[in-house]
Amino acid sequence: MNADRLGNTQRRFMVEGLTAAALIAAPFVLPHLGAAPDTVNRILVWGMFGLGFDILFGYTGLLSFGQSALYGTGGMVSAYLLTQAGFPHVVTALVIGTVAAAIVGYLVGLVALRRTGIYFAMITVAIAEVFFFVEFNPLSRWTGGENGLPGVPAPSIYLGFATLHFRSGWKLYPFIAFLYFIGIVVALRIVRSPVGAIFRAIRENPLRAAAVGHSVHAYKLCAFVIGAAYAGLAGGLLGVMQGFMPPDAFMFDTSGQLVIQTAIGGIGTLFGPLLGAAVWLFLQDFLQATLKLGATWKLVLGLIFVLLVCFLRRGIIGGLRDLYALVFRKGSAAREEQAAAAPAATPLRTRTAAAAAPSREGAHAAGPILKAVDLNKRYGGLVANADINFTVNRGELRGIIGPNGAGKSTFFKMLTCEVPPTSGRIEFGGRDITGMSVTDVCQLGLTKSYQVNQLFNRLTARENITIAALARLRGKFRLDMMGGLWNIPGLRGQVEHTLELVNLAGRPDTPVAELAYGEKRRLEVGLALASNPSLLLLDEPLAGMSPRERVETVQLLKSIGRGRTMIIIDHDMDSLFELVERVTVLQEGRVLVEGTPDEIKSNAEVQEAYLGGVREAAA
């Protein structure tokens, strides 16, 4: 795995290097292939526009149909400064346009991100349309209305001894290519930063990303602003390239074209939009001019796009990657399987690793860590929990049992603040946490592993754990977009340690989708563990496991439990009684009784209410 990481570092410089080489070579090679300089410049502008969109859609999973609003805003602000306001510096105007688009993007994001999924898409469509109308009517005095803003000057840069003029065509190319290069370098850094990792986690599973302690809303807004800034810069470049800022930059079609180009080239690849734009412009030219299809070319394009979404959903680059993986990764897959067989044989190593587990706060400081007072939860007329009083001390291992429908999971959801109690109070570490968000509670050190796996499915086991560890090491929101992921002190140690703890160190680079069920279950526990919580809740950690997996997992939980405070719900009573020191029995939403496993086993009330059926059957 270390070799792989080194490989990544090498590849990292390779991507930037290859991009620079390709950009430098383009004006010498492309003319021979019949490419017009204006087309090449246009592809670069679309590519720049797409960098931000790909971070927003491909990495964060937010499909916006409103990017035209930001593209137009950046373009119009830059063009207005250069044509109407008599601003002399093209570069400064571009920067101001970019900043303006980012600010507008922030405001638009505040509205659009109030809702997720389908709502988000609909709201962005509406926003794009509003901007189009605003540009055309109320603001036409500044934007030129349907005439646009003509006369945008070409950039020239004074170097002290000479002035560089980037007029048009291949002369303008170096200017745009240089900015694109900066754009791609920045985008690559963002994608490789901790923020980029969290973007991907949000794409895969926003609920879990919030539950492990990341402020999902703030990160989404951040992705939206990044997308807006790139859109604004691209819009400004459009005006500079054409010498004219066209009003149709604001049209919904612009957003649509961006979406299609990105999907054609490959979503989540950064270079996809650039490639997609090249394909689009080539097809347009080829179908219109060579095949004489006229306006029908868009129909052909529409059909190609539909087929692509149906059969090659990851676009050209994604398709090539899959093909490459199919041909060259056969060998490494076999190696992974070998590695997969190994971990079952190493429980001992795990146990020693766990012994050194540093729990966040002095775990053995006495006194209660969690207190629930008169907790009630009602769903309409249904009483899920009633008058629960519950206290867990530091360092304690507590089990909760109860028949199906006893309100165990609801109780857990209230403790982690996933659902608010109807009445009552929850104190954690002496602090009232009632009504706080899951994210904040996780940041305080209380987290849960879920009854049904909530993983980041397209990420590897190590990446999953990393996401959770990041929340602990960085807090719920931080904008270290330019920092390297592995430069965060303590991250690597925490991740490797957690992987060993849950026995996944043998195959850390396997995507979740390829893990066996038992492994996924352990990763689920690992996600909760990675944030090194001072109180860990486990909701049915043994659910759905085979008898052999159960035995292994009980060993695992024992080793994890050393020096920690945990509350475990499970139906497997033999395993649970072996694990915990005290047991709370819930029945019909109320606490029936509390005691040591032996007390519970011999308690008549429990036998009557909970094990009654068993006794009768035996008799």
């Binding site: 859609f57 999973g61 499909l63 149909f65 509205v111 109030r114 809702r115 997720t116 999924g117 389908i118 709502y119 898409a121 609909m122 709201i123 469509v125 509406a126 926003i127 349309e129 509003v130 109308f133 605003v134 055309f136 009517n137 109320p138 919904f252 649509g256 979406v259 299609i260 999907a263 306006a295 029908t296 868009k298 129909l299 394009l301 529409g302 059909l303 796009f305 539909v306 979404v309 149906c310 959903r313």
Partner: protein, 291 residues
């Protein structure tokens, strides 16, 4: 100058537009609520309905036949689209559904452009509804009054389907909890097909009925799609009453703002949507957890 009768006639225009938006949005919202697919081709379907009606009218000269043809054509388009493409997307991420329906909307628009060119087409209103009616306090185009009536009938028909039939019961249950409906042993497959067809038919029907009011153009569906989205956001996803209420609100906002300054119609519409999102994020009649 804003006069009293001008204002009232705009209120009526708003009602006509609102009723139309209500019908189109109902189609969109029951498709989304039941199937979980946001159909970005819904506006293009509205446009297709208009053109199908135009073609039928052109051949037969009968407006009634045009309406029937437009509605039935879209029922067929909807069912074919669901069988051939959409049903393979239920298990794929929502983004893919958006992308594929967006691609289909482009295809619909370009096919129409190919056969009918970009020049706009008109369908005259049927003879009995031609001219203007004296309402006592003002004169108003008869056909627009008829639109309100016809669309209201269509909404009632949709209401009856949703609330009085077995299919409607399944659809409403599916909107609340599709997993549960699936596990009750109901043939969801056929229901999905029918729902998509009916939703498309609602858009197509609205397209024909609206044809005499506007002139037809291949890209007319885009603006309607945007308005429909705002309606659904205001009313609440998956809510039939919400679509009707949202439609009427949006129709009146557009009409009344247009009277003062048409340039601000969308701004006001958007402001209303933002307000609803701030105060009631799930829409006026929406229920939490439906998206």
């Amino acid at each position: 100058m804003i006069t009293w009768s001008n204002f009232v006639s705009q209120l009526f225009n708003g009602l006509a537009l609102g009723a139309l938006l209500a019908l189109i949005s109902s189609g969109l919202t029951i498709i989304y609520g039941t199937l979980g697919v946001l159909n970005l081709a819904h506006g293009a379907m509205f446009m297709l309905g208009g053109y199908a009606g135009y073609l039928a009218y052109d051949r037969t000269g009968s407006f009634v036949l045009a309406v029937i043809a437009g509605a039935l054509f879209l029922l067929v388009v909807g069912i074919v689209m669901e069988r051939v493409i959409i049903r393979y997307f239920y298990r794929r991420p929502p983004e893919d559904q958006l992308l594929v329906t967006f691609g289909l909307s482009i295809c619909f628009v370009e096919i129409v452009r190919f056969f009918f060119s970009s020049l706009s087409k008109t369908v005259p209103p049927p003879k009995i509804f031609a001219g203007i009616t004296n309402l006592g306090f003002m004169f108003y185009p008869t056909y627009r009054l008829a639109v309100v009536g016809v669309v209201a009938l269509a909404l009632i028909a949709l209401f009856l389907i949703l609330y009085k039939t077995r299919l409607g019961l399944i659809v409403r249950a599916g909107i609340e909890d599709s997993v549960m409906v699936d596990s009750l042993g109901i043939n969801v497959d056929r229901v999905f097909m029918l729902v998509f067809g009916i939703g498309a038919m609602a858009a197509g029907f609205a397209g024909v009925v609206n044809a005499p009011v506007v002139s037809l153009a291949p890209d007319m569906g885009e603006a309607i799609l945007v308005q429909t989205f705002v309606v659904v956001v205001i009313g609440g996803v998956g809510s039939f009453p919400g679509a009707v209420l949202g439609g009427l609100i949006a129709g009146e906002i557009i009409s009344i703002t247009s009277m003062i300054n048409p340039g601000y119609a969308y701004v006001m519409l958007f402001a209303a949507m933002t307000l609803v999102l701030m105060v009631r994020p799930h829409g006026l009649l929406g229920v939490k957890g439906r998206e």
